[in-house]
Symmetry: C2
Subunit: 217 residues, 2 copies
Amino acid sequence: MIPTITAFASSPDRGRGQARDMRVRWALEEVGQPYDVRLVSFSEMKQPAHLVLHPFGQIPTFEDGDLTLFESGAIVLHIAERHDGLLPGEAKARARAITWMFAALSTLEPPIVDLGMAMLFERDKSWYEARLPVLRDRVRVRLGELSVRLGDADWLDGAFSAGDLLMVTVLRRLNASGLLDEYPDISAYVARGEARPAFKRAFDAQLAVFTAASTGR
Amino acid sequence: MIPTITAFASSPDRGRGQARDMRVRWALEEVGQPYDVRLVSFSEMKQPAHLVLHPFGQIPTFEDGDLTLFESGAIVLHIAERHDGLLPGEAKARARAITWMFAALSTLEPPIVDLGMAMLFERDKSWYEARLPVLRDRVRVRLGELSVRLGDADWLDGAFSAGDLLMVTVLRRLNASGLLDEYPDISAYVARGEARPAFKRAFDAQLAVFTAASTGR
């Protein structure tokens, strides 16, 4: 029995791997766990059959036998706890790696999503030009702090972990902003993540969904 | 040896228990773990001695022997994993409770913080009146979904867990918005959390810090 995840039938990111199913796909690829994917449309996500799985009507979900999880962070942690390869075995190093998972989702992602949302949905608003620099500066503060902590290390705390996996996927959401170009060390960190064979397999799998959908299969 | 956490020397919430040390205090009280508190000023938070503990210059941090953690979610999970009382013992129920921890921080908290930030920092902006209803509606969507899932249960998934602890602290950040009044079931859920003896002890402890600071001790 292999787990089933959900993903967008038609991803708004047009196959750039910025939807949150990418995190779960990547984690599953890192640990060598095969999985099935069930695609859901935007309207299906808000219907009862999906809301039973995900009370907030989003993707991804994770079903394994009679266990159902949602929230990409929780799913990645669940996978990391049950397989080798995404969390250190030593207890303290493991707690620190989990700290980076939360840092990616709680400290980095919110200002990055705010910027992305404004770029998508507020371009026509009277305040867009005034707010944009504020939002960009808020992201810069976090990138600057992250850069200092990363220093010349390859990964955030020792070996590659689920903390790096989530952080790289969060940072990739900045691709359209140009902000990563201002931080060559962080760009290189993201590139190291993207160069991992498991990332590539996950990326290709989500891209194949988009390609199939856009060519009518 | 008891752990040490950091908290604001002068909390911007004026003792209402909305700063993130409250989550860690509450978790430690739930499991009966004594702790020390080191207070830090806003300028100290951005200085090297604190940045070693917390790369993003925030509170809370958690030090236990030679282990240092940051991110309130990660600290609460660390406490919950090492003591009874905050996570179910059964593996699937445990994974679901952890899912609610991530849901609180990743799905509920960002729109709630956005609303709070706008109410604090954008009141004088030309766009405030236009943006405010959008931000409030974004929170309402999540509260509505949460209300449906909660139904007539006391807690989100079985017994009180670290998921409820984080969710209640996140929802309490809405106190100034009036939005909780629109969802009596969610207000009652928050009140159930606040009625727990461990919550009260944690709340009183953080309030004592504010009271002492504001009266010059």
